[in-house]
Subunit: 203 residues, 2 copies
DNA sequence: CAATATATATAGTGACCACTATGGAAATGG
DNA sequence: CCATTTCCATAGTGGTCACTATATATATTG
């Protein structure tokens, strides 16, 4: 039987996940540059050294917050891809889950990834590239689903291009979620976007 | 005959438009928060007091830069609406002009308005609202064109919803222009988007 | 208990932020 | 010429930035 040996000194009491949740919400609402460490630690109810004991820099905290967001909300938004074998149902579910997240009530509107660090200085170049990568990854995941459902499309359909069209739809919805924060409007955008998929399907 | 009387003292030498052009490019590339006054005046080749003699604050400079962008690139992007009476040709021109601007060579990629200040703190709330307004205005202008071309649509088409779909397309293209900066990819997104318009047209 | 290791708060670090007071240089009018 | 008016560079202002040195409190092991 494996015994969990506690380490020598005082055990850690900091709830890393709670901290990340608070960080996520603030970064989600205000972006990276506009969110200060002071604001973060105040919202967390801790002092700066406690935060830096868990995350070595603001950058690392942001990356961890993005990871958390990706694992929770990001996963939720893409869950439809594995759920439905029908590619139309799959994408429809994805778009509607996006609306669910983007206009949610108990957290900021919009999307941390879709509109995160689109503008940035060289100083945040690494973070900006990471965010751009995540956006491209999302499109790639959609393209892979399309590829797996190849038989459902009319022959010669440019599947990667179609995927990046839906990526653009999601990113556009993320912007408009910020500006109007209305699920009905976003659903209409989603439906118009879905009609493109409908048109290239084989029946 | 009117004589242009020169004022008493040393005449102004500051080229306001040149300054705004430089400011536009920097804000376009890096966003509002990530661009410092130091960076701006260095790029302009002037000292901070000279800048503040022309613009009373960073906020005002940003607003003026947005105005300049709107009057030049913004006008260019929407020029198709007045140029074509055929709504399909009009929107197609708009989307292609957007690509032209978003992937331009001698300036930053993406769009200053479409992705500007989407994330922001309360401190920049006024600017963020202004940017959101400009995005909504753009959609309204497209909606008005649709309304004017009402007869070209099948009956019962939700024109404002269609306009905000194209708004989302433009905003999505602006994000992807940042991430991949490739006109071919953006043109494919534009074409997919246009197929939605094609579907709701009456022939 | 003593020893150890980690938690935390206080109180700062230098650097940079937007912004400006001051004063001399420069270009005009009289 | 002188007086006037404005431009502009130097050199800062206080404030906030991300981040940390120090000291002490607290919880563990042996």
């Amino acid at each position: 039987m494996e015994m969990e040996k506690a380490p020598r000194g005082r055990p850690r009491r900091l709830d890393k996940d709670k901290i990340l949740e608070i960080a996520s919400v603030l970064f989600w609402q205000q972006g990276y540059e506009a969110t200060s460490i002071n604001e973060l630690v105040t919202a967390m109810g801790i002092a700066p050294p406690s935060l830096y004991a868990a995350f070595s820099s603001k950058e690392e905290l942001y990356l961890a917050a993005i990871d958390r967001y990706s694992a929770s909300y990001g996963r939720q938004m893409l869950s439809g891809l594995a759920l439905h074998s029908c590619v139309y149902e799959a994408i429809r579910t994805v778009l509607y889950e996006c609306v669910e997240v983007f206009v949610g009530g108990d957290h900021p509107s919009g999307c941390m990834i879709a509109t995160g660090l689109v503008e940035s200085s060289n100083a945040q170049g690494a973070l900006a590239r990471k965010l751009a990568d995540l956006r491209q990854q999302t499109i790639k995941i959609i393209a892979d689903k399309f590829k797996a459902c190849e038989t459902q499309f009319v022959e010669g359909t440019d599947l990667p291009a179609l995927a990046s069209f839906f990526g653009a739809t999601i990113q556009g919805m993320a912007v408009q979620a910020r500006d109007v924060n209305c699920p009905t409007e976003l659903h209409k955008i989603a439906e118009h976007s879905l009609s493109v998929l409908q048109a290239s399907r084989r029946f």
